[in-house]
Structure formats: C-alpha cells, structure tokens
Amino acid sequence: MFMSCGKLEKLNQNIKDPTVVPGESLFTGAQKYLADQMVTPNVNRNIFELISQYWTETTYTDEVNYDIITRPIPGNHWNSLYVNVLKGFDESAKVISAAGTLPGDGPSVVTNKLAIIEVMNVYTYSVLVETFGNIPYTEALVASVLLPKYDDGLTIYKDLISSLNAAIGKMDQTAGSFGGTDIMYGGDVPKWYKFANSMKLRMGMVLSDVDNALASTTVGEAAPNVILSNADNASFKYLAAQPNTNPIYDNLIASGRNDFVPANTFVDLMNDRNDPRRPLYYTEIDTSTTGTPKMAYVGGIYGASNNFLGFSHVSAQILTPTFEMLFFDAAEAEFLLAEGAERGFSVGGTAEEHYNNAIRASIVYWGGVDADATTYLAEPKVAYTTATGTWQQKIGEQKWIALYLRGFDAWTSYRMLDYPILVAPPDAKSVLPLRLTYPTSEQTLNGVNRAAAAAAIGGDDVGTKLFFDKH
C-alpha cells in the first residue's frame, strides 16, 4: 500500500544530467565561454570593438553611442565571466585536485593543470578589474556568501600578480598537462609558461603609473620569457560547425545581419600610413562616380548612421567560421617590451627594436609577408625615429592597428597610453567610457556593497578613471 521510504526518494533522481564529470571537461567549457565573451561582437554582450573605434554601426547606432543600459552590456559581460568562466575554472580545479594523479600520468601533471587553471583565473579577473575597477574577489564564488563585498581594484591586481607568479613557479615544463581538452595550447606547458609570462608583462605594465617599483620588478622578471614568435600565440581555434564557430562569423554572417562596418577613425589612420594590413582587415570599395572604378578603403562615420553598402566591409578571412581568436600574440608582447624600454625597465633591447619586431610579427600573422613589413617600417610616419609625437603616441597608434578585433585589450592600452586620440561621437550618451558601470542588477541584488564600491572608486560612472589610468 505505501512505497517504502527509499523507493519514493529515488523518484527524485535526475537520470539525464551527470553528477560526476571529469574536471578537464569543465576546463574546456570555461575556456570556450571565455574566448566567446572576449571576441563576440554581439551588441548585447561586448561593445569593446566599438568603444575602441575599430568598427562602427550601420542602422542601429545605440551601442556605438555608448548606450549600455538598454541592453545590459555590463551585466552580460560580468555574468559571463563570473558564472560561465570563473565558476567553471573553480569547479574544474576542485574536481581535478580531488581526483589526484590519474593512472598513466606523471606526478607533475596535476600540478601543471592547476597552474594553468590559475593562469586562466588571473586572466579573467584581470579583465573584470580592468573593466569595472573594484569587484567581488575574496568573497566571490562562495555559494554561502550571497552578498559578496567588493575588494579594492589595485589590491586585487597585485594579488593576481602574486598568484600568477606562484602558478609560473609551479609549472613543470618537462611534464604534460591537459591534452585536447585544452583548446588553446593542447596542454603544451612551455607555451603556457610563455603566455603566463606575457600576461605578467602586461599586468606589470598596467601598474607602471601606479606602483612603478612593482611594475619594474614584474616586467623585468617576465621580459625574457614572453611570446616572441607567432608560433607561440595564445589563440582559441574555433570549429567549422555550429555551435562551435567563431562568434564573429555567427553575428556577421550566420545571423544574416549587416550591423557593422570598419570605422573611419581606424581606416583613415591606416590609409594615412599605406598600411599593408588593410586588405587583410577589410575590403576595398569602388568610390568613383563615373564609369572608371576607383577602389579605396572607406570607413563608416563613427557614431553616425551608415549605409552598409557604401563602405568597406570586414574582410572575408575574418568571416570564416574557424577564424581563430587571440588572447595574446607576439606583436602585443613586443609592443609591451617597447613600452617597458621607454619607461626604463630592464627588458633588454631598445624600444625601436621591439617596436619593429612587433609590427613585423603583426603583419606576418595577418597574412602579409616580411617584405611588406620592411617597406612599411621605412614609411616616415611609421619609422620609430620619424613617426609623430611622443613614444606613447608612436607605440599607441601602431599597437592599436595591431590589436584589431581585440577591442578590450586595445581599450586598456588606450587608457594607459592615451593614444590613439579617440573622440566620442556627437550623439554619445556619455563621455568616452573609461570603465563600464556596474551591472544594473547589482543595484537590487547586492545594493549595499555595490554602493560602497561606487563611492570607493569615485562614482559608478563610465567617466570615472580606474586606478591604473593616471593621465
């Protein structure tokens, strides 16, 4: 007549979803979510490509005019990084730790995996800090703490550098780690070592106006071990079939929409220097009004309404489903070394050497040849000694060109160097953002802590300068 106790509770078992999975699979999931969030041009999730003025919009121009409230852009960025990425890496580390050394693996494999996860954690948190400033950190990701406090941005950043150092210290380059479950490097520890040091270089440089001593030490330690060859680039290679295709392909081709064209600010600067990367970045259009074709690269007016057919379009190679996304490349590392040299940090070599290496690496990565680079570097506006302005301007403008499609990294670089000169469009809802405002939902879900953080950083506005942005 009655079901026994045990039998009734058994009905509540979910037989379709697993309660145990390999930790490596959680790493794969989190890594993909991170790559997606950093590269997607979807206007609900990431508008850094617009803020950094690489692209502009065609018909719907809210986002290029900095409307970040109608679509919860800061919220989606924050949510993706905490829920889909950091939580995934956190759980991955727990499961891998608990599982211990797997049969057939050497003793340092688990340590290597955990060190790599830590590098990804540091990367993700650094993105959050560079986006918002103060954020939940020490009390984040704890299910029992529903109202985590926000920690001070600079303190977090220094702690991240310490964690990065610890992770680098633990890596055993002679041993293996993940296999194919690591889409970035296939578990190649020497390459992870270089990527981790490249991150250390970048993070050290970010602190150069705020804690020069720490920046100098950090940069000096990292400099000899960074990515210097495109073969070591930290990239995420997408697949040919949905849902694992590049989000740029998803949003610009698969969607059937024509929302973006390259921006005139970007195209004009590259035209001015006869940059060989132009055909690799975007297409030419016929600008003649008579019968004879007159091909040119023309960018849409930044911030304005642009007829898609009247301007250059994003190049075909970018719009393939398998186009890879870059976390870090040789060009960026060399530019950072150039900046370090200009600041007097001990990076070895001169600023000019690193600058030249960077431009060369970028041109070759995008599909140009070494000879193009040589010609380009001889242009008076490009050659380091004759290019216009301060070292910040020289490096800033060339780095901007090299960081195409990496709107977030270009944004941080812009805030550090104050070049290229970026001007907010006339109809903008706000000044050019120097940070994103805290997600609107934090006001109702963690209101007290958010208000405290807003006060601590000097106001929860897009115009508030973050701790590293001193000029």
Partner: protein, 476 residues
C-alpha cells in the same frame, strides 16, 4: 551552447488523509481534516509533513425561521495549514553537458540547489458572512482572508559574482491579506421576467515579511532597459524599479543645453507597482420566459505596467504621438529654425519645428527657470527610450472591459414533453467584446509578458482576440 537535452522528471507524493464532520441541529457545523504527505522531492529528513485544517459555520438564519426577511444567513470561519513540497530535482547539484568541442565540454549549472530543503507551509485564516434577504432578492457574501506562507521554496536571484544566477531557498515569509465581496440583487422578478445583478469586488494586499538572513530583495524579473520587478522586504510583491527623471521639488529637471530630461544615474528608483488597487465586475442577467440575456463588465483599478513597445515604438517614430503640430502650429518633425541664425538668444523662428519638454532648467548657481530649449523631432530617438528615463514608459493598467455578452434560448418543456429530450438550450456568447476604457496605449493591459508571479511588463503584446461561440446544450 548546451546540447539539446532530455528531461525526465518523476514526482511522487504518498498522502494519508482523514476528515471528520459534525453537525448540530442544522445550526452549527464543524469540519476537521488532517493530512500527512510524504514527498519524493524533499530530503529524507524533511520529506514527511502534516497539516490540519478546521472549518466552522454557523447558520444563524435557522435560529429565527419566522423572520421571513432573512432568507439565509451563515457565518463561517476556517483555519487551514497547508504544506507544499518542492518541484522535481531541487536538491542535488549536477553538471550541464555542452556541445562537445573535440572533447567533452561541461559547465556548472547556473542554479544552486539546496540539499536541506524543507516543505513550504501556508497558514490561512478566512472568515466570511453570507446573508440573503427577502427570498434571495438581495444578498451578499463577504470574505476576509489572511494567508502567510513561510519557507516558500523559491529560486532566489543572487549576485552573479557568487558563480550562480539563482539559489533555491526556503524563503522567509510572504503574506497576502484581502477582502472579497459579492453582492446580489434581483430588482425585478415576476412570472415572465427577472433581472439579476451580481457585483463582485476584490482587493488583495501582499507583502514580503522576510526573506533570508541578510537578504532583503527578491528580484522577480529583469528586463531590457535596466528595468527590474522586485519584492523587497517590507514592500509588496512586484515593485518596478528603473531609471527616473531628476527632480527639483516636484518639477522635472531639463538640461538647458539640449532640452533633454536629465535621467537618474542609477536604476533603483521605484517607478511603479504592478499590484492593482482592486478588481471587480458586474454581471447583469435578464431573463424573459425562455430567453436569457447577460453581460459582464470587468474592471481593474490601478496597477502599473511598463511598456517596452512604447519604449521602442516612440523612438522609431511608429506612433502618432511622434508626428503632430507643435506649440507653434508647425509639424513637429520640421527642422528647428532660429529668428536670427547667427544669434540664438533671439529665440526660435515662427516656422520652427521641434518640441519643448515641460520642466525646469537648474543653473549652476541654483536659479530655476522654465525650460524653453527645443528638441528636433526629425531623428531617431527624439521620442522614446534614447533620451528618456524608464519611468516615462510606465503606464497605469486600469481597464474597464465588456468581458462577455450572452444570449440564450431554451426550448419550452411543453414542446419537449413528447420526446426523450428533457432540455435544449442554445446560447450565443461573445467574449472580450470591448475595452471600454484603458490607459495603456496601443495594447491590452492584460496582454503583458508576465505569467504567474511576474506581471507588469508589456512587450510585443499581441492584440487580444474577440471570440464568438455558439453552445447547444441537450439534457436527456
């Protein structure tokens, strides 16, 4: 990114139930019930729970059967304690399997489950008085209730910096109190004709008494535009939060440089409340011999609704509100022209387009003046969300509707006497006939996005349908 997935849910409850009823001289009645449930969806230590109820009624009209004016009178009181269990699979965390990326790819779900979940308990107290007079020509039924739910099983939205979007919890206490009143009258009644009127009226007050230790807000929904619907401790369920105008006293502040309203810097201003002040209806039924004609008028007073359709529709120039003759008598979408193109301080030309927002400019030194700066209306976003706070799109959801009209004819029994059929009634019914009055432009206030607990948001509202039907009822 997750794979198309399968879901298999099974839920079981074993219930034991006992009830007893007592009656005393057709005057007093007492009913009691006790129920024990054993649910599959709670953890073993909490999976068995008991709940009783008791109801008493007093037919006081039977005390004085000689009083002909009092046809029926009943006083009732009941107290019930109801337990409720959880939905399937709220206890054990699992993983999500994504589409493989060369290898297995998994993620942590965005909902954190609770292995210590307890059953919900609802205590409700209700009292009622029902009286009919003069052979049921006039009467009323008044009910008062108070319902408290404790340990309500809820998915609580939490800050995503916890790594989750929601956490399943037993949440504090939520209270509903209310009045329901039904009035009946038969003003006219004779051999061939009668007219019945039934009026009902209801008002509910709800309030979140407590949630979890340290948590004082339950976000019921969050939408485009940064608008959220929340239940804060100490407030009713369903307060709308968003951006508001900036005020100087009770006047709206406008930026003198461009004529636009200043918008609050945060989205946590109360801009509406989805709960209506009251609901009611009036049903009139006229019966003449074998014909019956009835119509029902339904109404809601109050309640707020946020319209995303107006938010976008006004911005894109879709609605008539964006094209009209302005204060100068010119089409508002004409360009702005100046009396002296070189000296704007001389004001606008008489043929200028554009419009002036009503409000005040506040100078840096605090001086206040009426706003006179025009805004051009010939571009996207002059009206609509681009330049206005969320509050501009919150509308009062009051409505009065002709809900239903029906006309029926019953074949007289004299005709049917010789057949085996004892009754034939043909009824024509029209539903949702007419929205007599509403405030929400271009949409039916009842056609919002929300369902269940989540109301107050209107997006992509489809027109509601007017239905016609014909019923034939045969009795054998």
């Amino acid at each position: 990114m997750p794979l198309t997935k399968e879901l298999a849910s099974r839920v079981g409850v074993d219930g034991l139930y006992a009830s007893a009823s007592f009656g005393f001289k057709n005057l007093l009645y007492l009913d009691g019930t006790v129920r024990r449930d054993h649910s599959s969806t709670l953890p073993k230590k909490n999976s068995v729970y008991y709940y009783p109820s008791v109801a008493a009624s007093f037919l006081f009209s039977n005390l004085a059967p000689q009083a002909k004016w009092l046809s029926f009178g009943k006083l009732r009181l009941n107290y019930a304690y109801v337990g409720n269990s959880a939905a399937f699979d709220q206890l054990v965390d699992n993983y999500i399997v994504n589409s493989p990326f060369n290898n297995l790819s998994t993620s942590v779900p965005t909902i954190k489950k609770d292995p210590d979940l307890k059953p919900e308990n609802t205590k409700s107290l209700e009292g009622g008085l029902e009286m009919y007079f003069f052979g049921r020509r006039v009467g009323f039924d008044l009910a008062l209730y108070k319902t408290n739910t404790i340990n309500q099983i809820l998915p609580l939205p939490v800050s995503s910096s916890t790594g989750y979007f929601t956490k399943i919890i037993n949440a504090g206490e939520i209270q509903n109190k209310g009045i329901e009143l039904a009035l009946h009258a038969t003003p006219c009644k004779n051999k061939n004709f009668r007219w019945d009127i039934d009026v009902n009226w209801a008002k509910n007050w709800n309030k979140v008494i407590s949630l979890l230790e340290g948590v004082n807000n339950l976000q019921l929904g969050s939408f485009q535009g940064g608008v959220t619907v929340n239940a804060m401790v100490g407030q009713p369920y369903g307060v709308i939060y968003g951006t508001d105008y900036v005020y100087n006293g009770d006047r709206r502040v406008i930026d003198a440089a461009n004529g636009r309203y200043k918008i609050s810097s945060t989205s946590d201003h109360v801009i509406g409340n989805v709960n209506p002040d009251w609901n009611g209806g009036i049903q009139n039924t006229l019966t003449y011999r074998n014909w019956a004609f009835g119509f029902l008028i339904d109404m809601q007073k109050g309640g707020d609704i946020f319209s995303l359709d107006m938010y976008y529709g006004l911005a894109t120039g879709l609605y008539a509100e964006t094209s009209y003759l302005n204060d100068l008598g010119n089409p508002v979408r004409d360009v702005i022209t100046w009396a002296d193109a070189l000296d704007h301080s001389k004001g606008y030309a008489s043929n200028s387009g554009g419009f002036i927002n009503e409000g005040v400019n506040v100078a840096a030194d605090g001086t206040i003046k009426e706003n006179t700066t025009r805004i051009a209306a010939n571009n996207y976003g002059a009206f609509g969300y681009v330049r206005l706070p969320n509050r501009a799109f919150v509308y009062d959801a009051t409505y009065v509707k002709l809900r239903q009209i029906s006309l029926s004819y019953s074949i007289p029994s004299s005709v049917l006497k010789k057949t085996f059929i004892t009754g034939v009634t043909l009824t024509a019914v029209a539903s949702n006939v007419w929205i007599i009055f509403k405030n929400l432009p271009y949409a039916d206030p009842e056609s919002g996005l929300g369902a269940g607990n989540l109301q107050g948001y209107s997006i992509g509202s489809l027109p509601s349908t007017r239905d016609f039907s014909l019923n034939l009822k045969l009795t054998f």
